[in-house]
Symmetry: C2
Subunit: 261 residues, 2 copies
C-alpha cells in the first residue's frame, strides 16, 4: 500500500489495529520515535519541514536511518495528518506487540503500573503516559473503553513516553488473568476515597493504579477490583482537578523510593 | 455593537482588552459563568444547543437570568466561536477588573498565589487555573508573556476556575510594587532546583509560586526574584513532566494545612 494512502487509513483506530501500525506527527514526536527502538516503516514530508533548521536536521536523520521518505504537497500532507500543526512531518511505525502480562512482568517491588480505565481525552491519555514514564512506572495498561493509545493525538502529547515504556491494551478479563499470581494490588483514584497522603504508608509493594473517565470517574469493574480508593483533597466548592493532573499527583505520591528526593 | 460581530471581534486579545470583555464557549463553561457573580452581557445560541436536555435547560437558565439571547445559524455561530465543539452556545461577559495588588490582598498566612511566567498553551493555563482553585490558592497572576487568561480556550479548560478566584495580568514592575510590604516570598518551579518535598518544610507563610514557559522554563526575571527553586524529581532519561501536571504537583506539595487530609 502506498505510504500516503496508508497514513490516511491509519487515522482510523480499526486500521491501526489491523495493520499493527501507528503514526507519529510533528518534529518532536518523530525525533523521539527515531531515538527509540520502535521500527519505522516510512515518513511523509511537506515543504514546511524544511522551513526550520530542526526540521531540516530531522529530514537528514530520517535519510541516515534509511527510512523511506515521501515528499508530498501541503494538501496531500494535510489529508493524512490528524493533529493540529503537524509541522510538515509524520512517520508510520510499528506498534509494539505488548500484552498486559508483558507490562506486569516489569512490575517489581516498589513499582507501579498505571491503568487507564476509560480515559477518553487523547491529550489527557498522552499526558498520563508521560507522567507514568516520569515517575518510573513499570508501564501502562489501557482497559476496554479507553481511547486508542496509538492515535496520533495521544502519541503527540505523550512526547515519546509511548516509545520507552511497555504499554498495552487489554480487556478486564485479560487483565485479571495477567494480574493473577503477580502479587499486584489494584488501587483506584476516587475523590470520595481516603486522602492519598495518608494511604501512602499502606502502599502495596506492587501497585496497579487505576484512573477513571474524565466525567464518570472509575468504572464499576475497577471499583469491584480495588482494595483502596485514593483521593486528593481539594477545596470545597471546586468540582475536580483535571484528570491528567490528578493522575500525576497520585503517581507522585505513590512514586518509588528512588524518586523521593 | 451587535452581539454577533462583538463575539467575532472578541476572538482577538486586543479586542478583549479594549472592551474589557471575554467569551465563554460550550455548555459547561456558560453554566459555570451563570453560577458566578460575573456580569453576562449576552449569549449566542445555534440550533445544536437545543439538541440536548442540558442545552435546553441552559437556554432556559439564560432566559430566566434575563441575558439577551441571540439565535443564529450554525454558520454564523461557527464564525464567532474559537474552541472545538462549542456545543451551540457562547456567552459574552465582563472581565473582572482585578489587579496584582487585589490578588495579593487575598494572600493570607499559609496561602499561595500562582504566578504564570510566560505559560503559552491555553489548555495548560486553564488547567493551572483549575488546579490553583482546587488547592485553594489566593489567586493567579499572569505576567507579561503569558497567554491571555481571557481567551476562549483558557476559559474553557479552566472549567469555571476563572470566575471564582481573583485573577490578574501584570507587568513585572507592577508585580514588584504589589508584592512590596506583603511579606510574600517568590519561589520558582525548576527541574534543577531542590526536591519540593524537602523544601516544603521551609515554605514561607505567604508564597508566590512561579511556573515558567512550557519549553524555556522560568524567565530570567522570575529567577532573579526567586528565593528558592523547587523541583519534582523524575526518572533519568525522561525529559520533563507536562507543565500543568508539574504545576499541579507543586501546588499540591505546598497546599495549605486545611487540605492536608
Amino acid at each position: 500500500m502506498r505510504l500516503l494512502s496508508l497514513a490516511r487509513d491509519l487515522r482510523r483506530r480499526r486500521a491501526r489495529e489491523r495493520h499493527g501500525l501507528f503514526v507519529a506527527e510533528g518534529v518532536r514526536a518523530v525525533e523521539e520515535l527515531l531515538a527509540s527502538a520502535v521500527p519505522v516503516r516510512g515518513a511523509l514530508a511537506a515543504p514546511a519541514l524544511d522551513a526550520t533548521e530542526r526540521g531540516a536536521s530531522l529530514r537528514h536523520a530520517l535519510e541516515v536511518r534509511g527510512v523511506p521518505l515521501l515528499d508530498v504537497s501541503d494538501t496531500d500532507f494535510a489529508s493524512a495528518a490528524d493533529t493540529d500543526s503537524p509541522q510538515g512531518v509524520l512517520a508510520v511505525a510499528e506498534q509494539p506487540r505488548t500484552t498486559a502480562s508483558d507490562v506486569l512482568a516489569h512490575l517489581g517491588d516498589g513499582g507501579c503500573v498505571l491503568l487507564l480505565d476509560a480515559v477518553q481525552d487523547p491529550g489527557n491519555a498522552g499526558t498520563m503516559l508521560r507522567s507514568a514514564a516520569a515517575f518510573d512506572a513499570a508501564g501502562v495498561i489501557a482497559v476496554t473503553g479507553t481511547v486508542d493509545l496509538w492515535g496520533a493525538k495521544v502519541v503527540r502529547s505523550a512526547m515519546g513516553a509511548l516509545f520507552h515504556q511497555p504499554v498495552a491494551h487489554a480487556a478486564w478479563e485479560e487483565l485479571d488473568e495477567a494480574m493473577a499470581g503477580t502479587g499486584a494490588e489494584l488501587w483506584g483514584a476516587d475523590g470520595a476515597g481516603q486522602p492519598v497522603s495518608r494511604l501512602a504508608a499502606e502502599r502495596p509493594a506492587r501497585l496497579v493504579l487505576a484512573v477513571g473517565n474524565e466525567g464518570a470517574g472509575l468504572s464499576q469493574r475497577a471499583r469491584a477490583r480495588a482494595s483502596r480508593l485514593a483521593a486528593i483533597p481539594i477545596a470545597p466548592g471546586v468540582e475536580s482537578l483535571n484528570a491528567a493532573v490528578a493522575a500525576g499527583i497520585l503517581l507522585y505520591e505513590l512514586r518509588p523510593e528512588a524518586l523521593r528526593g
